[in-house]
Symmetry: C2
Subunit: 325 residues, 2 copies
């Protein structure tokens, strides 16, 4: 199975590692918008310019698209689906139906297979929401994120005047998690579910009280949360906050029995040292599935909901039944 | 969707509750080996004798078979698959390949769709082992069971001379769970993973020291575990240990990155007040899926590995993408 990486940032590098870790996959190469000779890959993979990708139409089984959801993927994924099997990690939840339609039209017309919105949320978390709600219809589910770095919130802090650098962690609130696990089906406000913890490097001489106030009152990003702001040095930021950890929890509680007398808790959680590398590992497993579906003539756009678990594995169905069921 | 229940014990009653809780399902009735007039159902469902089931061949979409794995299901499931779509919860892990073959032959020949080994282990736990291993190939997974009642171990204690009644709980050991979550991939012995806690009602005048010793040294069941034995009264057993709770954990840790420098933990856990009612809820969701597959002409025997998540839900794929992805 020959995999191409389209776009080479953190996610693309994660895909490179995940493909190299899979015995049944081979990395065809990396496609970049930059000048290929300026891009050095982690494992010495070949680097090509995106403009040349059609030359390799017959050499690539699946293109894993590692662009951003805001501006790249809405055009990249349908464009590439005209000629390739593709997988992306489109994560703007509200625009998934629209993106699905575009990619489905392209892939159906070209007789290719595509998967959108792979990763962990959307992705593994979505699957767990679906399984849990199908099994316990009389219940309620909750998703918590973190502890982990939010790139968007970190960027928002960096745009404040007097801020040199910053990192923001989304932190699930333990009391809320435990209230959910109790089966009491609490109604939780935004503030009760998560808090936001910020590590900020101020420019020398900057008014830190003003910066802290600007962070805490920023609409959409921070105003609805309890926010903790720490001012630290650039050295401390680089030493203690260099990673991109993330994770979270999907919890559903539900009742069964003649009088709903029995309570059940289904909990799925992730604790990830590297958000982009884990996301990459998920979408590479889905690249394997997409290649299998394509070979069976199952064309069009899919999501994680449409893929049977067995298609993610390199093992045969016989082996899976024998060793994992 | 009309569902029939074949066998009416704890699992059958759980299926009755689960079908009644599903808006898109209707309970056709219960089939029993007992005299139908002696069986009273929880919700007043019709009761039929198993010998008459072929009379209702055209009235039933899926038969949910609620027999035991040791002697019932190996013949019941293939027999019924000759005439019906069927779902079972066959849980003798080592004999799954053989059972699959028998049921697949019957269902393929009769053009019906079957699912074997639904439930939570095998079932939801198996799915989580598969997803986690596909996403993190460079890792190791662990399954822990409990805290929960083991029927087999409770029965084994009850067979000891001088024992009037007994209940046995399988308890996962917290230190082992935490060692696994740390990502250290420990090698754990049977004794290190679970302990066994027994609540025993002795016959009046029985030698409790002998009973305790017979329990703790019983091969296969207890000898390889640390076992705690409590002697209590029948009243205490009935008051404090009447339920059938269970649950457990599937944890996989794995590494990614150029030098495997990043660690990830995927954890799925269940905490169930009623083991049979939760198992029933899972197999009823799979009955829905089997009915969809049958309508698509996808015949033969399936397992939870072969079923895409979307087929478990009463929602359309459009609704699922919009609300759960």
């Amino acid at each position: 199975m020959k995999i191409a990486i389209y776009g080479y940032g953190n996610l693309g590098r994660g895909v490179e590692c995940a493909v190299n870790a899979a015995d049944d996959m081979q990395l065809f190469g990396v496609f970049t918008r930059r000048a290929p000779e300026t891009v050095k890959t982690l494992s010495g993979a070949n680097v090509y310019h995106v403009d040349d990708i059609l030359n390799y139409k017959n050499d690539i089984d699946v293109v894993v698209i590692c662009g951003g959801s805001a501006t790249d993927l809405p055009t990249m994924t349908p464009d590439l689906a005209n000629n390739f099997n593709v997988v992306d990690s489109f994560d703007t939840h509200a625009k998934i139906p629209e993106h699905f339609e575009c990619v489905n039209n392209a892939a159906t017309a070209s007789k290719h297979t595509a998967l959108i919105s792979g990763g962990w949320d959307p992705g593994m978390f979505s699957i767990n929401r679906l399984y849990a709600s199908a099994v316990l219809p009389n219940g309620k589910d909750y998703t918590f994120w973190g502890k982990g770095v939010s790139q968007g919130h970190s960027d928002a802090i960096r745009r404040i005047d007097g801020v040199k650098d910053a990192k923001q962690y989304t932190v699930p609130i333990e009391e809320a998690l435990n209230a959910v696990r109790s089966g009491s089906c609490p109604e939780l406000t935004t503030r009760q579910k998560h808090l936001r913890e910020c590590f900020v490097v101020a420019e020398s001489g900057a008014d830190t009280a003003r910066i802290e106030n600007e962070i805490k009152t920023m609409p959409n990003y921070f105003a609805d949360y309890d926010t903790i702001v720490h001012f630290i040095s650039q050295e401390e930021l680089e030493r203690d906050h260099a990673g991109i950890p993330h994770g979270g929890f999907v919890i559903r509680t539900g009742k069964t029995g003649v009088n709903n007398e029995n309570n059940h808790v289904i909990e799925y959680s992730l604790k990830l040292d590297s958000n982009p590398e884990f996301t990459a590992s998920v979408i590479v497993a889905y690249a394997r599935a997409i290649s299998k579906l394509y070979k069976r003539g199952d064309y069009g756009c899919k999501t994680v909901f449409d893929i049977a678990p067995c298609d993610l594995s390199p093992l045969s169905n016989e082996e899976l039944r024998k060793t994992m069921l």
